[in-house]
């Protein structure tokens, strides 16, 4: 090749890189702008989409207009397209299309914007506070009573109407962790929950970075995929969901297993961290069988058993037998049906009005088969992190009760695993979830 031709190709490559950088920056700004729009409009005029809440974002009132279905969905679509565009620019090389500094700045800005605003699109955080206040302020066992047992408490009016009679389904470790926030009052506890969610998200991203580096992947790409994800930011951090704490434990365990040379101590600790995560929210226990099958040593089994025993003793001491019986709470929740679940969509596609009891059994059977297949694959050398991620994705897809923050579970695993298909599948499921929210945009304007 002549020197002139090489110089020409070099100029084209530099020019193309500049265009990519410029486009990526524009997409990042669009993603940030859409998130700001949701937060500012969510703070204005008691919009119906934003749960009634103590006035924690009053200083933002008046800047935006009232958040309607149309504004929310348009902003969510803009954010999703911008995020998808950003990922498309780096997909082939699995490298961030923007610099490390810009990626961190974008993720930090998204988190700060959402942290400063009102609670977005879910009343779950008020249930967390209600359960904490039941235990600390009223001496009631949140595993035996629903928030309606404290109807005179100031938090009660903010609890979602569907959950007022429902005892907590969260793990005893989470319930105990939430107790110190109860005496802070409703507003103080709410800010406490927001801080916990923010720190859990930051911790998850740091651990994702470490895991990606340990597997020779671009850590900037990894945190960009997770930390700039619109569902993660708007629903996860925006709703201050405890799923973020569960994901922190999940990535802590993965980091212990892959970020350094494995030792029996590390493996036992990793398994114990998974159990701790499961005592926050049980779903993360799905990692344990894959961890054990991949290592084929006693250390993770012993670590898990020790943590489980300690957790059971603490839970029993604090809440009695009901605090230990997580299975019955999970069975109760597994019977719920939401309109956004793929099971409901498939039922409609096949001409049924909704999900029937037999469908629950078929979905559970399908999930068991998927898990058994993934365990067999892991036994034969498949990446256990990927197998865990597929399992979390399968749990959310086969669940009849699907919420936006459930399809976040596999995301950090998808960016650090060795099977690229998991990230594609997770993002595709998230895209379908967003598309399913769009009917109000298609309704005639009144």
């Amino acid at each position: 090749m002549s020197v002139a031709a090489r110089g020409e190709r070099g100029r084209v490559s530099v020019g193309s890189a500049r265009w990519t950088q410029a486009l990526a920056t524009l997409l990042a700004l669009a993603l940030l702008a859409a998130t700001v729009e949701i937060v500012l409009d969510g703070a204005s005029g008691n919009p119906p989409l934003i749960p009634a809440s103590p006035h924690i974002a009053d200083w933002l009132v008046g800047i935006g207009e009232r958040l309607t279905d149309r504004i929310l969905l348009t902003a969510l679509l803009v954010a999703t397209v911008a995020y998808g565009g950003l990922l498309a620019l780096g997909w082939r090389a699995r490298e961030s299309p923007i610099s490390k500094r810009r990626a961190i700045a974008l993720i930090a800005a998204l988190h700060i914007v959402v942290f400063a605003g009102p609670i977005l699109l879910s009343t779950d955080v008020f249930s967390y506070i209600a359960y904490a206040r039941m235990g600390v302020e009223h001496g009631l066992n949140p595993y035996l009573h629903g928030p309606d047992a404290i109807a005179s408490d100031p938090i009660f009016r903010y609890v979602g109407s569907d959950w007022r009679r429902v005892a907590t389904a969260y793990g005893p470790l989470y319930t105990l962790l939430s107790y110190p926030l109860a005496p802070l009052g409703v507003t103080g506890a709410l800010w406490g929950m927001k801080v916990v969610a923010l720190l859990a998200s930051a911790g998850t991203l740091v651990l994702t970075w470490r895991c990606a580096r340990a597997r020779s992947l671009d850590p900037v790409w990894a945190i960009l995929v997770v930390g700039a994800n619109p569902l993660y930011v708007i629903f996860g951090v925006g709703g201050a969901h405890n799923d973020l704490l569960m994901m922190l434990a999940m990535m802590g365990a993965v980091a212990l297993m892959i970020a350094a040379r494995p030792t029996p101590g590390r493996e036992a600790t990793a398994a114990a961290v998974v159990v701790a995560g499961a005592l926050v929210k049980a779903t993360v226990a799905a990692l344990l069988p894959f961890m054990i099958v991949a290592r084929r040593s006693m250390a993770p089994i012993l670590g898990a058993l020790a943590a489980l025993a300690a957790g059971a003793v603490i839970a029993y001491a604090a809440f009695g037998l009901h605090g230990v019986d997580v299975v019955s709470a999970l069975n109760r929740d597994a019977a719920f049906v939401s309109t956004d679940s793929f099971a409901t969509e498939l039922a409609h596609l096949f001409g049924k009005p909704g999900v029937f009891p037999i469908d629950h059994d078929l979905l559970k059977a399908a999930l068991v088969l998927i898990i058994l297949y993934l365990m067999w694959r892991t036994w034969r050398g498949y990446d256990w992190v990927a197998a865990s991620g597929w399992t979390l994705l399968a749990i959310s897809v086969t669940s009849t009760w699907l919420l936006a923050w459930y399809i976040l579970w596999p995301l950090p695993l998808a960016v650090v695993c060795r099977d690229r298909r998991l990230l594609g599948a997770t993002l595709a499921i998230q895209a379908l979830y967003v598309i399913h929210q769009t009917p109000p945009l298609l309704a005639p304007v009144r």
Partner: protein, 160 residues
Amino acid sequence: MSRSTTPADERFSWLPTWLRPRDEELSGSGRTRLIETTVLLLVGLILAIATIYDVSRVSRVNHRLSIDLATWRAYTGHDYRNLTVDQELFGASSQHEVVCGNTSPGAVRARVQLCLVIYGPVVGGRRTVHGGWYLPPHHEDREAVRYGCFGPAAEGLCTE
């Protein structure tokens, strides 16, 4: 990479080769991966079809409901916003809706309510009212409290 020399594998050396655990997958023909990818694509396609179908179904229902609300307002001459719609009385898939609203200004259900049974094709942005009944204030639509039934669609739906 094979871990055939490590103690972990020696513990399972009694198993046939195809059953023995591995630390990393064999780089084979990629058949398993191809089958998995095909299954994943098929599942993804079915979920995508189900999602698009559901979006279209919900959009059609929303569109029909907005026409039914407009029909109630046109029929009564009241431009009230707080109307309730029942899709279940005649069956969720029947496309027969019951729209109820106050007969004079007030909060939801605060006045005597007029319920209209609306179904049929959309003509000029409206559907046809095939009957209806009245409800006393502060009552939800139950057979025991209905009165003044009129029209063929309301036959047998009032207790009186």
